[in-house]
Amino acid sequence: MTAADDAAIAPGRSVGPTSEFSLFFRVKPGEAAPLRAALTSLQDTPGYRPGDYGITIQTIHEARFVLFDDDTRLAFITSFDGPWEAYMDDFFTSGPTLALFDAVFNHVEGYEGLPDVAAVRSFVLGAEQGAAAYARNYGGTVKEIRKAQRVNAAFQAVLDHPQAAEALQHPALQPLLDEAAD
């Protein structure tokens, strides 16, 4: 990484612990169909299959690849826990993640391919565009949300117990009782 590269990195907008991260590419002429096919294959890989909830990068909330402008452009848009620019070097040394992206990036302009990680890094940073506006409807990191889901599932299991109403009568459990009615 050069000093010039560093200066070019814009941290992007963030809401609480989460920051937005968007990349925009130009599809190579004639590569739209194979790119769509690559994205369709991606959708079938573990983590991207409907209901998997297991993206390889566990600190992103969601990921989408969007072909637009008659399949001449490609966008990759995500939300990342933490300031993404701090983790850029990590991304570029992560074998599995990089391999997955390599299959997609091969169809867009400016990509020279692995194994030249420095070139890939420069290519990705060159495609990043900071959002002009960014908002979220819930706070919390992926880790916190997963924990909240586990806790809620446990709470629902408690409520399904025949003696739940009786068990929740203790004053210490009042905040849970307040959430138990619906």
Binding site: A3, D6, I57, A86, D90, S94, T97, A118
Partner: protein, 446 residues
Amino acid sequence: MDATTGVSLELDDIQAGALYERPSPYVGTYLLLCIRDRRDGRELVRRLRRLVEPATAVGPVGETSVTVAFTYRGLEALGVPQASLDSFSPEFRQGMAARAAVLGDTGESGPERWEEPLGSPDVHVAIAVLSPDETQLEQVAVRAREAHAELPGIELIWRQDCHQLATGRTSFGFKDGIGQPAVEGSGRPPTDPRERPLKAGEVVLGYPDETGDLPPMPVPDVLGRNGTYVVFRKLHTKVAAYRSYLRARSATRAEEDLLGAKMVGRWQSGAPLALTPDEDDGELGGDPRRNNDFGFGDDPRGFKCPVGAHARRANPRDALDHEGSVDVRLHRMIRRGTSYGPPLPEGVTDDDGIDRGIIFVFAGAHLKRQFEFVKTQWLNDGIFIGAPLESDPLVGPRDGVGSFTVPQRPIRRRLQDLPPFVVTRGGEYCFAPSLSALAWLADLDT
């Protein structure tokens, strides 16, 4: 050539003190000098060059070492050409005081409250002399003093002595200096058999790093190659506040020790919680073959070692391996911490007003992704462990108060109203050049 790694480090050109461990026990002195006259500055560098030992000159155990490093302002004062100055890392060019907001050095730790002259443009040359005993230290310190004393254009502007406490531990009472990464080609074996030695370029400029590339290096080559960035920070430790906090939340001395260990991730002896979660084990703590041989992967929820404990934050080891977003090897640090000030006597919980703490020293090729990343993402923040509002319980900055979660069955314990226990008194980003770069600097004729 290192037979096991195939890496050939030019050890005869690398400052020994920048690459190797300090002695233990140790005494030492840190000096900061201001270059008022360029010619005297270059003469100073010429003399210091003769005091600095290359990494080939030291034995397997720490010996007396003199390490010389320069701030951006120092290189400027020596007349290093602008194109060369511009080729240093942006963080180094800015200096630590300018990075304060990023680093969390605010409020009581803010540069406006730093000890003079730390953080000022007068800090040009940093010299560290570390020795196993007072006699050897004095011999070298006299030579270091002679190097600058007769030069009217050189002013000694700060001195900080340090020494290992009689306990062999930090002012907080913990054995430290454990868990250093090994470096390919350095000839020193790893203490953590689970961690491959780091690529040389993680620590020394001019060699491939963990990304497979050469770290960005200042020009010309003779100035950058075999050099390393050095961070030093004077950190005041609020030992009385720390002890009072633990005592107020513990029914027994044993509980106090356990809470302290949960915060640090190790017991006072140095024994890691990951290996002995319920009680201290002095033998384990003192055994360098075992006290760094562990991971956190078998303890994702932190029942043995809390995910927010200091040592686990500073080096998560294998704890984040499955997350696909972090390569821990990119964020390892060579640390050379030393203690200053007298210990607070055992059992005392009232502040005696005496300054004591740690001179934290980092050596590495990447200020941003090593020192600054660990400080900002892992110590100051809790996003990465799913607790954005928690910072490191021991060294985390807290303007007001914070919390710390100790996972335990049946119910986690959450320590509230955690005040700051460490205050930054000042520091600087420096560059420790190679021996040939020292000669190049001395011979500048700009």
